[in-house]
């Protein structure tokens, strides 16, 4: 039976931006949207903007919208809503109290569990990762983690969704739906799972993530897919990856403004097209490596972005999805540990609603089961820290202290029996004696791999009803037939 044990009501608090600083970033953002503009390369999106009085340049597809329009639109966004799951017991309320971890996408390679070799990802990987994540209490929802590259591009995203629903009862999120045609099919599939269009609005079992195209631009197909999803009541998020000194200014504050302008303008568009649609803020900002221009996915700027972005999402009163397990490491190693720990701590301490990226390496390109299990350990450590320190009569333990007295011990105290299981027990930290380690010098990552194999072999997720499975498959086939006839997605 799958379960979820999330971070809830963290007791530590972190203020990385003051209210005044948030207001300045907001003011700068509105200035950018109004005076510089954001590119929306979709006729449909431009129509919506124009109908609401924004200035639209059809040639460059750049929209300049007054701040009041953006602010009014964002006020329509619901502050609280659930991410629903196939199993309603696993629904995730995005209520500003919880921090849920999920996978992230979209990787293109997998470190094979058996051979240890890196290879191209396939649909089978999507299935197997979903099955393992279904068993992990730290993983609250799935992002399509790797690309099903053995399926045709036109229907690939839908194969991936069906694969996860077949193998898990948890919520599913995807960033791979990037055309209106795919989005319509994805909505149809989600309606089948939820039990109808109204039920899907009430309990969205699928949420959609789109990436902006930094700096200050959106992707046309993504916008059209997002509009279809928003109209059907699926939660839609836009993620900025504006990176210091390349796709954003070199300063963290400047890159926050650019990223914010991208996300906020896209969310406003959703609200203009479908008032009241559930939307969320998403970000995985970083600083580039100054030598090669690469997305680094780690370092102090990332950790600050993680905490600062939540201050912005809170200001707009929408949930946040943060790319926190975003390490740039090539294998599960020191770098992966330090990057994912610090980013996850920062993003969790400010109560980011969703954390993305467990299991992926090298800037979300390579899937590793070892990393998945160790990321869950990081999440568990942070969860334990954020519970803080309880101070009351029982936890002050005066009776036990009196009983043990000077020079006594607490091993056999009843108080210890009552509380010792609250202490953190690691699964992937090596606390053996030196001698024991010398005799068997294996590593936590070896244990993680072993555990992943056990879960893969032993975990049996609640199967999807065969009728429903056939229905999903039928929707995918219909899209493939349509794609054969007209390779381009029909206009929304």
């Amino acid at each position: 039976m799958a379960g979820i044990d999330p971070i809830v009501d963290p007791r530590l608090r972190l203020e990385v931006l003051t209210a005044e600083e948030v207001r300045r970033i907001h003011a700068a953002t509105l200035d950018v949207i109004e005076s510089v503009g954001v590119r929306f390369p979709s006729p449909r999106a431009l129509d919506v903007w124009e109908a609401h009085g924004a200035s639209v340049d059809r040639q460059t597809m750049v929209v300049r919208a007054p701040g009041t329009l953006i602010e009014e639109a964002l006020r329509q966004a619901p502050p609280v809503y659930p991410l629903a799951a196939r199993d309603p017991a696993l629904d995730l309320p995005l209520d500003g109290r919880h921090v849920y971890a999920g996978t992230d996408g979209c990787g293109v390679e997998v470190i094979d569990l058996e051979t240890g070799e890196k290879r191209r990802s396939s649909l089978r990987d999507v299935e197997e990762i979903a099955r393992v994540c279904d068993a992990l209490e730290e993983v609250a929802f799935h992002w399509v983690p790797v690309s099903a590259q053995d399926r045709p591009p036109a229907s690939r995203s839908l194969h991936e969704l069906a694969a996860i629903w077949r193998n898990s009862t948890k919520h599913v999120q995807t960033e791979s739906v990037v055309t209106a045609r795919e989005a319509r099919a994805a909505v149809e599939m989600a309606r089948a799972i939820a039990g109808g269009a109204d039920e899907l609005r009430r309990r969205p079992v699928l949420s959609i993530m789109q990436c902006t195209t930094s700096p200050l631009a959106q992707d046309g197909g993504s916008l059209e897919a997002a509009l279809v999803a928003a109209e059907a009541g699926l939660p839609v998020g836009f993620m900025t990856m504006a990176s210091c000194a390349f796709t954003g200014p070199a300063t963290v504050a400047g890159s926050l403004v650019v990223g914010n302008a991208e996300v906020v303008s896209a969310l406003a568009l959703m609200e203009l097209a479908a008032p009241g649609a559930p939307v969320y803020y998403a970000a995985a900002q970083t600083a580039i490596d100054l030598r090669n221009g690469a997305y680094t996915g780690g370092g102090p700027e990332d950790f600050l972005f993680g905490a600062a972005t939540n201050a912005l999402a809170d200001f707009y009163n929408v949930p946040l999805s943060m790319g926190s397990f975003a390490t740039g490491a090539k294998e599960p190693d020191w770098q992966a540990g330090i990057e994912n720990s610090l980013s996850t701590f920062m993003a969790s301490a400010v109560v980011s609603d969703m954390l993305l990226g467990v299991g992926l390496l090298y800037g979300s390109r390579i899937w590793s089961y070892e990393q998945l299990l160790m990321d869950c350990e990081i999440y568990a450590i942070v969860r334990s820290m954020l519970r803080g320190i309880r101070v009351d009569d029982e936890s002050l333990a005066m009776d036990a202290i009196r009983d043990a007295g000077p020079g006594g011990d607490y091993l056999t105290q009843p108080h210890t029996q009552r509380h010792m299981r609250e202490l953190f027990r690691p699964r992937f930290l090596d606390r053996r004696s030196y001698g024991a380690w010398e005799t068997e010098p294996d590593r936590p990552r070896d244990w993680a791999r072993r555990r992943a194999k056990e879960l893969l072999a032993g975990h049996r997720p609640e199967p999807l009803d065969p009728g429903l499975e056939a229905e999903l498959a039928g929707i995918v086939v219909a899209v493939e037939v349509e794609a054969e006839r007209s390779p381009e997605s029909a206009p929304a």
């Binding site: 390369p41 979209c106 293109v108 390679e109 290879r119 191209r120 690309s147 590259q149 591009p153 690939r156 791979s176 990037v178 195209t213 992707d219 046309g220 000194a245 390349f246 796709t247 070199a250 580039i288 100054l290 030598r291 090669n292 221009g293 690469a294 997305y295 800037g363 390109r365």
Partner: protein
């Protein structure tokens, strides 16, 4: 004095000052200097300086880009005079560059284009969302040595294979080399689709291009 002018040209590249580089190019023409000399003895040493300092970790990508842009602007000023004298700058090779059909990501591709052109390649940038056949047409038209195909999405990456096949069907392979790049692109993918090479960053792309043309 010529040597002073050369030194100033070199400095304009090192500082990435495109306006200054342009202005010095105009002055050189006014003084009747051979444009090729201006490039080879004025600007190129500046570029070399930046490259050397980049290699030892004292200068960074943004400075490299500024230098490349300054170089490009200076050469643009000198080009009409070069054409008039029928002198040609030695070109390392001709590269046709574009982001594949269905994909609009251009920043990485533009970076590669700028660096290639600063390094002495003649670059024909087709932009983004480029149909497969367009790569073929352009490669034929300019007698390209290399076609560079960029893709950022796993779904559009498959188009890189289509470009390789289109070039093959047009009989341009293996003479025209193909290099591929973009976030999801791996060595394995490049090998599988029969591309001649791939790079994960712009500096690597320049090295690869040099290798492919034997420069």
């Amino acid at each position: 004095m010529t040597s002073e002018l050369f030194a100033a040209m070199r400095q304009s590249i090192v500082e990435g000052d495109a306006d200054r580089a342009e202005e010095l190019a105009a002055r050189a023409l006014g003084e009747g200097m051979d444009p090729l000399a201006a490039i080879d003895e004025g600007y190129v040493p500046g570029l070399r300086h930046v490259g050397d300092h980049f290699a030892i970790g004292e200068m960074f990508l943004p400075e490299m880009m500024l230098a490349a842009r300054a170089m490009k602007r200076a050469v643009a000023v000198l080009e009409p005079e070069m054409a008039r004298r029928a002198s040609r700058r030695r070109v390392l090779g001709r590269v046709v560059l574009g982001t594949v059909h269905g994909d609009i990501h251009e920043i990485g591709k533009n970076l590669v284009g700028m660096m290639l052109s600063a390094s002495g390649f003649e670059v024909h940038d087709l932009g983004v969302d480029v149909p497969f056949e367009r790569f073929v047409e352009k490669a034929r038209e300019v007698d390209a040595d290399i076609v560079g195909v960029s893709a950022l999405l796993t779904t559009t990456m498959v188009g890189q294979r289509s470009v390789v096949e289109a070039l093959r069907d047009a009989g341009l392979r293996p003479r025209v080399k193909v290099m591929v790049g973009g976030a999801p692109v791996t060595r394995g993918w490049a090998e599988e689709i029969g591309a001649d090479g791939y790079s994960e960053d712009a500096v690597g792309a320049v090295n690869l291009a040099r290798q492919l043309v034997g420069a």
